[in-house]
């Protein structure tokens, strides 16, 4: 008999309980008299029919000339980006690398590879940092930061690249280090510092030392994070002089490589100048001294590879939650019920089609649904208020099994779309669902009608909702990011956990043409180079070089980046029961 017991049936929420028990118990061959069926009965909906209503359709014609032209332009841009990133990933000049290797040291990127678990992906942050900022090459800002899995635990890895200007801290290096710490603190990621740095870059000392968010903040962050129970592990693989000495000294556990790592407040030349004492670097602050006499370090390694093995062991002893994909509600304690790679549905449409959908011309409207359909699991999107305020698309979806609320621009923000956005963000905050903002916004609607409709107060509601929503927020700029639209769509100032830009994206108060026009209108003599300069300063590369974002990403990998970001934010250690308190919504 196929009829499940009443108990089992009640445990299956999706099946409609049929009134089996009302029927007399008879052999199944008996023809039931029509009289008994006079009462109507619910039609059974198959689960795959139910989910069909959420599947996004696509209208993309990959054979159209528009699509192909767009794809060609985007791929050209992607090639340029790949080659730029490829150059940067080579690190410092060959001479410096040869010298580094001759000392038996591993190159910083190899150190990271050795540190993370095999078969895992490393979410590198802002590799373009410092690009064309100082008039000299500072590849990746002289520091590699990113999130990697070590012994199953998501960690923030900060690795100095001593082949780049001796690993000294430029202002952008400090900014990148602090950004990495900020991400670690927000997402509760243990920090591993692979220290190999000559300290502050002295010619730039004014921009690295005195201010709040300068060098000293690194140690402030270490102390604060340690106090919050976020482990701090340092591996000293090169010099840590003066202020740099505090990175290992402020860490929970410190590993040092003998005859290679040094920690001291003043190096031998300064000691000689100050007191006349002549002492070698190794005797002054080498691994043996600190591991056996001073106690500054806890583990002594014979080389980089050994030090990394020790660091991995330290992480395995943190008793820290391992990264996992989300569990279905109610089965949190049941690890077996967690979705695995096999149960996660990939999008129905090829994400690489985004190249042809988007192109590089931002004047064209980018269809938000087509973008969402190439990011979320199974291209399934439970759209909220589909037919109201249609220039903002809101709805629920999953990314690698993580439930998210998506807020995507599909045109200019009007009063209705702002109200809809605020409503949706409230829902997500209430339910503790992370928010993903897909940003392509030239601004809120202007004009008499808009002002009459209260666009200012309605836009403010959206901004308030975004600012206060205390759930992990993620922002991807897939087109423009201009004006107050940037605020309403969770720009950098609204502290998204991660902010990524597509290579075609532009960021600025307004477009270069409008900006030039405004300047002329207010009577300033037109600077002939102004428009070109604004154009350049709006580009994603310019933004990323200054760390206005966390990296420029290939459109087709948006799903992966969000997946890794979500894993970092909600996959490991999470504060239980954070409640959002919104500010006053002006009605």
């Amino acid at each position: 008999m196929r009829a499940p017991s009443p108990l089992l049936r009640s445990l299956r929420p999706n099946t409609v309980a049929l009134p089996y028990r009302r029927l007399p118990l008879r052999p199944s061959t008996t023809i039931t008299s029509p009289r008994l069926l006079s009462r109507s009965i619910a039609n059974y909906t198959h689960p795959h029919h139910a989910s069909a209503i959420s599947v996004l359709p696509t209208a993309v014609d990959t054979t159209s000339s528009d699509f192909q032209e767009n794809a060609r332009q985007m791929e050209e841009l992607l090639d340029r980006m790949a080659s730029l990133h490829g150059t940067i990933s080579q690190g410092g000049p060959q001479k410096a690398k040869d010298k580094h290797l001759a000392r038996g040291k591993m190159l910083p990127r190899d150190r990271v590879s050795a540190l993370i678990d095999p078969g895992t992906s490393f979410l590198e942050l802002s590799p373009l940092a410092g690009h064309e900022v100082y008039g000299e090459d500072v590849p990746a800002g002289g520091i590699i930061t990113g999130i990697g899995t070590v012994e199953g635990v998501n960690c923030m890895i900060v690795a100095n690249d001593s082949t780049v200007k001796g690993g000294t801290y430029y202002p952008i290096t400090v900014k990148k280090h602090l950004r990495a710490q900020a991400i670690a603190q927000e997402n509760k990621l243990p920090c591993i510092y692979l220290v190999d740095s000559g300290g502050a870059n002295l010619p730039h000392q004014a921009d690295v030392f005195p201010d709040r968010d300068h060098f000293g903040r690194i140690f402030f962050n270490q102390a604060r994070m340690s106090s919050l129970g976020i482990p701090q592990i340092a591996v000293v693989m090169g010099p840590c002089t003066a202020g740099g000495a505090y990175v290992p000294a402020m860490s929970d556990e410190t590993i040092i490589v003998e005859n290679q790592g040094t920690i001291f407040l003043a190096g031998p030349p300064l000691v000689k100048a100050a007191t006349g004492e002549v002492v070698s670097a190794e005797d002054l602050g080498g691994g043996h001294l600190h591991s056996t006499i001073s106690g500054v370090t806890d583990y002594l390694a014979v080389d980089d590879a050994h030090a990394i093995v020790l660091a991995r062991r330290s992480i395995s002893n943190l008793n820290y939650p391992q990264t996992h994909l989300p569990s279905t509600p109610g089965s949190l304690s049941n690890a077996a019920a967690a979705p695995t790679a096999t149960t996660i549905k990939e999008p129905l449409y090829d994400p690489s089609e985004l190249n042809g959908i988007v192109g590089t011309n931002l004047r064209r409207q980018i269809p938000a649904h087509e973008v969402i359909a190439r990011i979320v699991d199974g291209s399934e999107f439970a759209e909220f208020k589909r037919d109201y305020g249609t220039t903002l698309v809101t709805g629920f979806a999953r990314i690698y099994g993580h439930q998210v609320g998506i807020v995507a621009n599909n045109g200019i923000l009007f009063s209705e779309s702002s109200l809809k956005g605020a409503h949706f963000i409230e829902l997500c905050a209430q339910r503790g669902i992370p928010l993903v903002f897909l940003q392509n916004i030239s601004g809120f609607m202007v004009g008499a009608d808009a002002e009459k409709g209260g666009i200012a107060k309605n836009g403010a509601k959206l901004v308030t909702a975004v600012a206060c929503a205390d759930v992990p927020k993620f922002t991807v700029v897939f087109g423009s990011s201009a004006g107050a639209g940037n605020y309403g769509m969770c720009g950098r100032a609204y502290s998204p956990r991660f902010l990524f830009m597509w290579p075609n994206a532009k960021i600025g108060v307004m477009g270069s043409e409008q900006l030039s026009a405004v300047m002329e209108a207010v009577g300033r003599s037109a600077d002939p180079d102004l428009k070109a300069r604004i154009d350049r300063e709006s580009e994603a590369v310019f933004s990323s070089a200054r760390l206005w974002d966390d990296g420029v990403i290939p459109p087709a990998q948006t799903r992966q980046f969000l997946g890794l970001g979500l894993a970092a934010a909600v996959g490991g250690k999470v504060d239980a029961d954070v409640r959002t308190r919104f500010g006053v919504f002006r009605m």
Partner: protein, 711 residues
């Protein structure tokens, strides 16, 4: 309830019944030719594959089997094969005949099957069995005794008209007399010191002109080496073959020859390949050798299974009696394959007093149509180090599928321990083909499917023999392996694909160890930057015949989920899609040019890989930092035990200066002595193990001082 089961029950129930059974047994020899008594319950006084083999036949015929085991064998397959299993205790207790008889009687067994080895050719044991009222499933003790005595057996054979190796073993040492004897024997002849050994005092005279000079030379060497210049003269056979005849006799005076076996492929004077029929044997000779074997058996009043061994002179076509083995042989399945008979069942029938199931004509008729069979013995041993035995846990065993023509008699399964205490034979692989060529082809194919990881085995070596052209053409002789040394021990190379597969297996298994849930892009480089999953994996080659310290570097860049770029030995494989099956240990990878399924077994630093029918052994060299970080000793300066062993003698002391190849230590393993010689000139720093110590494989025996002068 069957009648035999009833009988079994009663015999265990009352002492009266037992006594009655005993009385019946003890009266058996007296009227053996007339009494038939069925055996319902037997004890197998052996271990390993032969115990299982006998048990199989017994079970087929409803005979209860009692097995024995020793402490190290308590979990061996033969011990587990029966619910009636009794512990004998110490390692050597399989030889404790009195205990075994006592157990057999206590458990109500009617017969004892001795298998081969151990007590199988112990006439005193056979006699005690009979006297205790138990049926010894083998020949009468008197036949064992007669055949066990070399000179006695030769006399009996000569009397029965069976040719023995001509020679003079007498006291007369007169040079002219000996020359006359040599003339009679016919040249070439072997002159051997009576007390000789190890080739000393041994000369070959190829002609009459040669004889006196060689005799003098042998005598003087014998005198200086052993202080005794007595020699014997024997026919020297230049290309000898080992051909033996399986005979069977019953209590009724019948005797049949179940064909012959050629067992010429030997190492350390032990057989590794046996086949039937013997290749290139003229039909007349074949019939003659069978007839002589039957005469031999009848001459000693033989009963049951026996093997008459002959030395066959390939040059002259003559054959001479060597000895008779009064037991079932290891290689009996070869005969079973070509005769279609179950020889263990024959043994039981004969022991029960039944006549032989077939006549000589019936046997020959069957053999005429059954083709050719070959057996390969699979040993835990290292052919590249003089076939020294190995031992250890069988980490992985995969066997070819057994069919009517492919038979595997194994004593072990995966997870079992091949103990250093006993014979290191793991299994026997027997195949049958319509012709000899087909049988060899099938054997080679089956060997390629035979995978064993753990102890080193001779499977690779057996494959090499199967490819050896002289073996294929049937030109076998007992010196085959020595004569074909260059061909059989070639320098081997390792394909880049093998290294790639092994490295992929290592990475994937380590990746899955990091208990994480995979998303579909895991391991891929994401973003515009090149990925961070580029690793170099190093292996050193342990494959026999590979150059020493040949190190291989494999570079792997993971580019996506299960997708890798692999660079090895200058070859680049791009976008290799690879999956590791953790249950079967098989890595399946789709290379741009081919698909490969490779079994990769890791055991600490040792990796054993099977790919396309070939086994590879690799080791993971320690990381650079390990030596210093772990305070590891540099084993380059030590001489290591090549196998689990006992130190018999230490020939050097600390501080001694030794030359290259000077003996350092003499060890014993598997009842064989091995001399460990100095690998180079140097000064001994320390003798780690002393006389009598038990050592594991790989433990240092002797350490050299830091600077060894021989470098």
């Amino acid at each position: 309830m069957t009648l035999s089961a009833l009988l079994r029950t009663t015999s265990r129930l009352g002492p009266t019944a037992v006594r009655r059974a005993r009385r019946a047994a003890s009266t058996l020899p007296a009227n053996a030719s007339t009494t038939q008594r069925s055996l319902d319950s037997i004890l197998i006084a052996n271990r390993g594959e032969i115990a299982l083999r006998v048990g199989r036949t017994a079970a087929q015929h409803g005979i209860r089997v009692t097995t024995l085991y020793t402490d190290p064998d308590s979990k061996a397959q033969h011990a587990l094969s029966s619910p009636f299993a009794y512990n004998l205790g110490s390692v050597s207790a399989y030889l404790d005949g009195d205990r075994i008889i006592e157990i057999a009687k206590r458990e109500g067994c009617q017969g004892i099957h001795p298998g081969y080895g151990f007590l199988s050719e112990n006439s005193a044991f056979a006699r005690k069995c009979t006297e205790a009222g138990l049926v010894f499933i083998g020949p009468p003790w008197k036949a064992i005794e007669d055949m066990g005595d070399k000179s006695q057996s030769k006399n009996i054979m000569t009397a029965a008209g069976v040719p023995c190796v001509p020679g003079y073993h007498g006291e007369n040492q007169d040079a002219d007399f000996l020359e006359a004897e040599a003339d009679r024997i016919k040249y070439p002849v072997l002159i051997k010191a009576v007390k000789g050994g190890g080739g000393k005092g041994m000369r070959i005279a190829h002609s009459k002109a040669d004889f006196q000079a060689q005799l003098q030379s042998a005598k003087s060497e014998a005198m200086s080496s052993f202080g005794d210049d007595h020699v014997l003269v024997e026919k020297y056979i230049t290309t000898p073959r080992h051909i033996e005849v399986q005979v069977f006799a019953d209590k009724h005076g019948n005797c049949v020859a179940l064909g012959e076996r050629d067992c010429s492929i030997q190492r350390r004077h032990q057989k590794i390949l046996e086949e039937s029929p013997a290749p290139h044997l003229p039909d007349a000779t074949r019939k003659d050798i069978w007839a002589k074997a039957r005469s031999a058996a009848l001459a000693v009043g033989y009963e049951g299974a026996g093997t008459v061994e002959f030395i066959f002179d390939n040059d002259s076509g003559e054959f001479f009696f060597m000895e008779m083995n009064t037991r079932l042989q290891v290689e009996h399945p070869v005969t079973e394959m070509v005769t279609g008979q179950d020889l263990v069942h024959w043994q039981i029938k004969v022991a029960e007093g039944a006549p032989l199931p077939l006549t000589q004509d019936e046997v020959e008729a069957y053999m005429a149509t059954s083709g050719h069979a070959i057996e390969a013995r699979i040993y835990a041993e290292n052919p590249d180090q003089g076939f020294i035995p190995d031992s250890g846990t069988l980490l992985h065993v995969r066997t070819p599928a057994a069919t009517e023509d492919v038979r595997i008699d194994a004593g072990f399964v995966a997870g079992d321990e091949v103990s250093a205490h006993y014979d290191p034979m793991i299994a026997k692989l027997i195949v049958r083909g319509a012709t000899r060529e087909e049988a060899i082809r099938k054997l080679a194919a089956a060997l390629e499917e035979y995978e064993i990881a753990g102890p080193i085995t001779n499977i690779e070596f057996l494959k090499t023999i199967c490819r050896s052209s002289d073996f294929i053409s049937g030109d076998v002789e007992t010196g085959y392996i020595d004569k074909h040394r260059a061909e059989l021990f070639p320098a081997k190379t390792i394909d880049p694909e093998v290294l790639a597969q092994v490295a992929l297996a290592c990475l994937q298994r380590d990746a899955s160890l990091a208990s994480r849930v995979q998303a579909s892009f895991e391991g891929s480089g994401i973003g515009f930057s090149p990925g961070y999953q580029a690793h170099q994996v190093s292996f050193a080659d342990l494959t026999p015949g590979a150059k020493d310290d040949s190190r291989h570097e494999v570079r792997i860049q993971q580019t996506g989920d299960s997708t890798y770029n692999v660079t090895v030995q200058g070859v680049v494989f791009e976008q290799v899609v690879s999956h590791d099956n953790s249950n079967s240990n098989i890595v399946t990878s789709f290379f741009p040019h081919t698909r490969l399924d490779t079994t990769v077994i890791r055991d600490g630093d040792t990796i054993i890989a099977f790919q396309k029918g070939t086994q590879y052994r690799l080791t993971i060299p320690p990381a650079k930092w390990m030596e210093k970080a772990l305070g590891m000793k540099d084993v380059k300066n030590s001489v290591l035990a090549p196998m689990p062993c006992k130190v018999l003698r230490v020939e050097v002391a600390a501080g001694d200066t030794v030359e290259k190849d000077q003996p350092l230590v003499v060890i014993e393993s598997m009842k064989m002595e091995t001399v460990i010689r100095s690998p180079h000139k140097g000064v001994i720093a320390k003798v780690v193990h002393q006389k009598g110590d038990q050592c594991k494989s790989g433990t240092p025996l002797v350490e050299f001082a830091e600077e060894s002068g021989g470098e």
